[in-house]
């Protein structure tokens, strides 16, 4: 490092990030580090676990959750910096199969029930699961498909069920199949946003440090938002 900006000394920040946002965040952080002397250490995990850890003294500076609920809870419990909460990405779900020409651009396939298993994330734990459930409820398929639904604990596992072929199709995150460097594998239906409430992913500041503040500023920047969108998210 040659010249340090007058207002900041090189620091390390620990950022807890929801697992589903791993690739995007890795890219964002790497870009941030290029333009700064700060070092960003990313800690991936489930949002529920991160919440419990933060409540019990985990040394994280920032928390990028998979939903709104947990950051809000932390804020209410004064475990996070008040008013630091913001939405950093909006998740989109797709109905996906790794095989080509399986998924049509409507719900017919689901209605025909021509599959053994449909994989979704656990609606109770994962916002993507909640969204998938909403979609099925709106399509009036939830009860009919109850016996065919297998649930991953998180969206990553849901994806693996489908990817390994054990479930023929599943509701996964658009970000999981979309990668700026690769073409999308198999066939998918990007679920219309009318069928579910958007999956708002929020971040909150746990410790108010200069470096953390700079990182948040960067995440809100155009460059970062572009990266996030490249990985299949909407941005606010």
């Amino acid at each position: 490092c040659f010249i340090l900006p007058a207002n900041s000394i090189a620091a390390e920040i620990l950022v807890a990030v929801a697992s589903n946002f791993k690739t995007a965040m890795t890219s964002v952080a790497r870009r941030f580090e290029l333009n700064s002397d700060h070092k960003v250490t990313l800690i991936f995990g489930s949002t529920g676990k991160h919440y419990a850890q933060i409540k019990n003294g985990a040394p994280y500076d920032l928390f990028f959750a998979a939903d709104v609920y947990r950051p809000k809870l932390l804020e209410e419990q004064s475990a996070a910096i008040t008013d630091s909460r913001f939405t950093y990405a909006l998740g989109k779900i797709v109905l996906w199969s790794p095989r080509k020409n399986v998924i049509e651009q409507d719900a017919k396939l689901l209605e025909r029930e021509a599959f053994r298993y449909l994989s979704i994330a656990n609606p109770k734990l994962a916002p993507y699961g909640r969204a998938a459930k909403e979609v099925l409820l709106n399509l009036k398929l939830w009860n009919g498909l109850a016996k065919k639904i297998v649930r991953g604990e998180n969206i990553g596992q849901t994806f693996q069920f489908v990817k390994s072929g054990n479930a023929e199709l599943g509701f996964v995150a658009y970000s999981q199949i979309k990668n700026p460097k690769q073409e999308i594998e198999g066939s998918y239906w990007l679920i219309p946003e009318s069928l579910y409430t958007p999956i708002e992913q929020q971040a909150v500041m746990i410790k108010d440090t200069t470096a953390a503040g700079e990182f948040i500023k960067f995440v809100k920047s155009k460059a970062a938002l572009k990266i996030i969108r490249d990985y299949g998210y909407d941005t606010p």
Binding site: S46, K124, G165, N166
Partner: protein, 226 residues
């Protein structure tokens, strides 16, 4: 206190642990016996392999099992070929996963117990007209009782708490593959701490009572001194 799904999960868990333990003992016993008696030069390779499933994180092991069991994996392909139902997301699949994962806890204590019996009691039994199988049941097993107890307790308890593998290949289907460990995990993840505490406490208490019963029963037969 306990919700209906929690109770169902508990029942499935007990069933899973019980069946897994039985299968583990059935498979592990002959294997451990063989390991304890063979003079094969390279048996140490097998001994090493037995311990390997332990080394991978359960979820990762589950991940590989999932791939294996899937239609493109070797096991799944086989099942397909013989017209069977795929195993992922079924109770049978859970049993297979648990068996693989808990195998070392059963094989190793049994192997030790068998080794420490030595040849003599079996030789005596042979001169008393007992066939090899007869000897095994009437001499080896009783003399290896402590080893069986350890094997069964470790196997059972480990399956109760088993989580990663089950999570991966079970699909968390209530009434079929949702076990209590996942239920507790779900409660913790979704911040339903009270339910998590109750369920954990219940599971601990139940296990504790079962273990107490097993060990107290074992105590009634005095340990065999040499």
């Amino acid at each position: 206190m306990f919700s209906q799904p929690d109770l169902i999960a508990l029942a499935i868990t007990l069933k899973l642990a019980f069946i897994t333990t039985v299968i583990l003992l059935l498979l592990g016993t002959p294997f451990a016996w063989w390991l304890s008696r063979t003079r094969w030069r390279y048996k140490f390779i097998l001994e090493a392999i037995v311990a390997l499933p332990l080394v991978l994180p359960p979820t990762v092991l589950g991940f590989y099992l999932l791939i294996m069991l899937g239609p493109n994996g070797p096991v799944g392909g086989l099942m397909d070929a013989i017209g069977g139902r795929p195993l992922a997301f079924t109770f049978t699949g859970l049993v297979i996963g648990s068996v693989i994962y808990s195998m070392p806890f059963v094989v190793q204590p049994l192997q030790n117990a068998f080794t420490s019996i030595g040849q003599r009691p079996l030789e005596v039994a042979a001169t008393l007209r007992a066939s090899p199988l007869d000897r095994f049941f009437t001499v080896t097993i009783p003399l290896a009782r402590q080893g069986f107890l350890t094997a069964a307790v470790l196997g059972f308890a480990h399956t109760l708490g088993e989580f990663g593998v089950v999570l991966m290949i079970g699909g968390n289907i209530p009434g079929e593959t949702q076990v209590v460990s996942i239920a507790i995990y779900d409660h913790v993840e979704s911040l339903e701490y009270v339910q998590a505490h109750w369920l954990s406490g219940g599971l601990l208490l139940l296990s504790f009572l079962m273990l107490i019963a097993v060990y107290a029963l074992n105590r009634r037969f005095r340990p065999i001194q040499l």
